[in-house]
């Protein structure tokens, strides 16, 4: 898919096939990097990574209704382009799940790009290894010392404000993608009364004398709490759902947006939404998956609102560990698969398009006669976005951030 005849990956402008416009016609275009390496100092970008744990069914989130083989594979859960619960039109070939009107609006406004038939390099079907590969940025599973967002920060030029501010990992347990040597800030929607500052300072003192690991973690927590207070987030917000509910997703997105939007806040964050492992009774226009997609759609609105003036410099990337089987299984759900969708959303996105080298859905076109075949590597998308946003060089991306991906050139032209 990617053109390899240009050795200079920093300047390369790969041609890619993409399905655009009506009836799945194939177009070719060239990406022109507008300010990829001059831009780092010119704007103050924000990057948020949303991980969907459990493997999102890309064929339901962004159904290829224009593909003649789609409906037959998905008896009981297929979406239609007409009727009272019609999917939302994108380009006449791909549609959007009707639970996502915000994303449809952002797409129309040129602030959302959908990447289809995408996956990391992982080709087995374990959730946990798949998530490790997605988050560690390593070529294979089992190497979980650090995540690629942490190494991204660590490899920004010394003295760069972004690296000093650290990377934000939302949740009581931070996602692997932010873990590592660079500073990690943590935040989770508060659910109980916070301890007094005096106790916290005494513990910081004790840990400083006795336990460097705990001292470092507590110092980072204190720093984030200070930031949250300055952003007016100190109020008690008890209750609310978990990260597998629409309410929980909204609160997490609001909190992340408030912290990342602050002048003195982190510029890079990762958060995770859960519950996407739809083995049974997945539902169509309504039902289990629809509820989750509605939650994700609400999170987009919360990001847009919460980031306010910096939304124009923001890219939110949504990715999942792999996709699900092309055909519905024996229990009106889908089992673990391979290719799926990723979303790029934000004012910094050159959007309004679906990027896909569509492989088709006939049995012989499927990966192992079973899954949507991945034709775009999510890591090439991620590399393209962060190289344009933060000005990282190709070698650093290919060796430090996503090791051993020299052959996988960053897709450029994804950012405004």
């Amino acid at each position: 898919m990617v053109d390899h005849d240009d050795d200079d990956c920093e300047r390369m402008t790969p041609s890619r096939r993409a399905v655009l416009g009506a009836a799945g016609a194939l177009f070719a275009w060239s990406f022109v990097p507008k300010f990829a390496y001059a831009a780092a100092g010119a704007r103050d970008p924000r990057f948020l990574l949303v991980i969907l744990r459990g493997a999102l069914d890309g064929l339901s989130a962004v159904p290829p209704i224009g593909d003649p083989d789609y409906a037959g594979l998905r008896e009981g859960i297929a979406l239609a382009k007409d009727g009272s619960e019609a999917a939302l039109p994108l380009d006449g070939f791909f549609y959007l799940h009707p639970a996502m009107p915000n994303l449809a609006r952002l797409y129309r406004q040129g602030q959302a790009t959908i990447v289809h038939a995408a996956a990391t390099g992982y080709r087995e079907r374990s959730h946990f290894d798949g998530q490790d590969v997605l988050e560690s940025g390593q070529p294979g599973a089992g190497r979980t010392e650090s995540g690629w967002l942490n190494r991204l920060i660590a490899n920004l030029p010394a003295g760069e404000g972004i690296s000093r501010k650290g990377v934000l990992g939302v949740g009581v347990v931070p996602p692997l993608v932010v873990r590592g040597d660079a500073p990690v800030l943590g935040w989770a929607p508060p659910r109980m009364a916070r301890a007094g500052g005096d106790l916290t300072m005494r513990l910081a003192d004790l840990y400083g004398q006795r336990d460097p690991g705990l001292a470092r973690a507590l110092a980072q927590a204190i720093e984030t709490e200070g930031l949250a207070q300055r952003r007016g987030m100190a109020g008690e917000q008890k209750g609310g759902g978990g990260p597998d509910t629409a309410e929980g997703m909204r609160r997490i997105a609001e909190g992340a947006a408030a912290l990342v939007g602050a002048d003195d806040g982190p510029r890079i964050a990762a958060l995770a939404f859960e519950g996407w492992d739809t083995h049974a009774n997945e539902g169509g226009a309504k039902g289990r998956l629809a509820n989750l997609l509605g939650g994700l759609d609400g999170a987009f609105a919360a990001f847009e609102q919460g980031l306010g003036p910096v939304w124009k410099d923001t890219v939110v990337m949504v990715a999942t560990e792999f996709g699900r089987t092309a055909a519905v299984n024996g229990t009106t759900g889908t089992d673990h698969g391979t290719g799926t969708v990723a979303f790029l959303v934000g004012g910094g996105v050159k959007g309004g398009r679906v990027v896909a080298d569509w492989p088709g859905l006939k049995p012989e076109q499927l990966y192992q006669n079973r899954d949507l075949k991945p034709t775009t590597d999510i890591r090439a998308i991620a590399k393209g976005v962060v190289s344009e946003l933060f000005g990282l060089s190709g070698p650093v991306l290919a060796e430090k951030v996503f090791p051993e991906t020299g052959d996988l050139k960053p897709v450029q032209g994804l950012v405004v």
């Binding site: 009364a193 301890a195 005494r202 004790l206 229990t331």
Partner: protein, 487 residues
Amino acid sequence: MAEAGGLKAGAIALQRFGLGPKPGQGEAARAQVHDRLLAEIAAGRVAQPEGVTFSGAAEIGKALYDFEDQEKREREARRVAVAAPASDTQMASAVPQGLPAGSQNQMAPAPKPANEPALPYRTYRDEVKARVDLALTAETGFGERLVMFWSNHFCIGATKSNMSRIMAGAYEREAIRPHVFGRFEDMLIAAESHPAMLDFLDNRQSVGPNSLAGKRRGRGLNENLAREIMELHTLGVSGGYAQADVTNLARIITGWTVVGREGGLGLPGSFAFNAGLHEPGVTPLLGRRYDQPGKAQGIAALTDLAHHPATARFIATKLARHFVADTPPRALVEKLALAFRQGGGDLSSVYRALVEDDAAWRAPASKIRSPQEFLVASYRALGRKPDFGQIIGPVGVMGQPFWQPSGPNGYADDNAAWASAEGLKTRVDVAAGWGRQAAGSVADPRVLTEDVLGPLLSPETKQAVARAESKPQAIALLLMSPEFQRR
């Protein structure tokens, strides 16, 4: 070992293998911990929690189906009342649904007492409370720690459905506890055939495509449970199986299901093998042929998986990581795997190898206690007993509510997960609350700190507790001290 390693090693071991000392028992427990651990292994059993509502899954199933039928009737009654109000119930029809007070609708049954949760949650509540009570009274707590370990290894998720919520406690009592000191294959078969697991990982819905039901109704396989059996319960993800093995194991265990409300195959809610769902024929798996009839085919496959060398290594690694270090000594893992293989999966042999290993005994206390361990160890140290709200709130905010991991891989078991910035800050909040609760019952926090930490107590922690501005703060400092947090 306690003799050789001294009281300090005994103090670490009490936290590493157990749940920490209770007030006034610290010194004796530290001195005798080695012998007590071996005695627990020799006794070979863990206690069962007391005071739970239902004896087991079969009894629960009937109650659950009755509850769901009742709820359905109530919903329908409300719908009827709204759709066709008689003259004397017109007011009732204007009242929003779910308002129980003084309903004039004669069809509606008596409302539940105010604030009393529905049956599935009530049962979950009682099971959690009984489980924590047992952990608080256990002697060293080694058996209870093993229950927590295995319950997490073979985890189910209580939020998936009414059935998984109401059965979560019974699952642990029936599938895990009886086998903690027994054979791995027995625990494996008990877990995979328990209604809660068959519900959680969808196998109750899986249908052999060529079975009677498959041909008649056009239903098919759901490979969720089969995959997790190999990836998470036995071989491990790099244990040498392929997609074809997943599909074949799914075929082999078709028919392992849960009896529905009609009770056609047994007591509603209990396990049943339904031959009408089972994929017929000989099925290969990992190079072997399985030609047994019916349920025996699945039993044979699970038995072979239990004795596979990859399983021995996988279990050995997880146990060593849980008890000793995030990156456990390689020699210890080899030793435990060998004990597993030589004992044919006899778990007591593996524990004995662990407890008698010098490296396991002397490794520095590097691991931070999990939130559930922290809760139990704290209430043991304070000599107090939490009510349900005092249990479920803290473990929830710290990220480890009972039987509710976000996926079938269970809760994480390393410091990267539990010693995070936000996680630690949340612990401080929790410890501050416990300090306030316990301030009235702790006579002198300095004495308690000496008693609980013994030879582990550092001068710095001792001074921090002594200089605290209040009793609640002193208790919180004890509970958050590195010596109490790490094991």
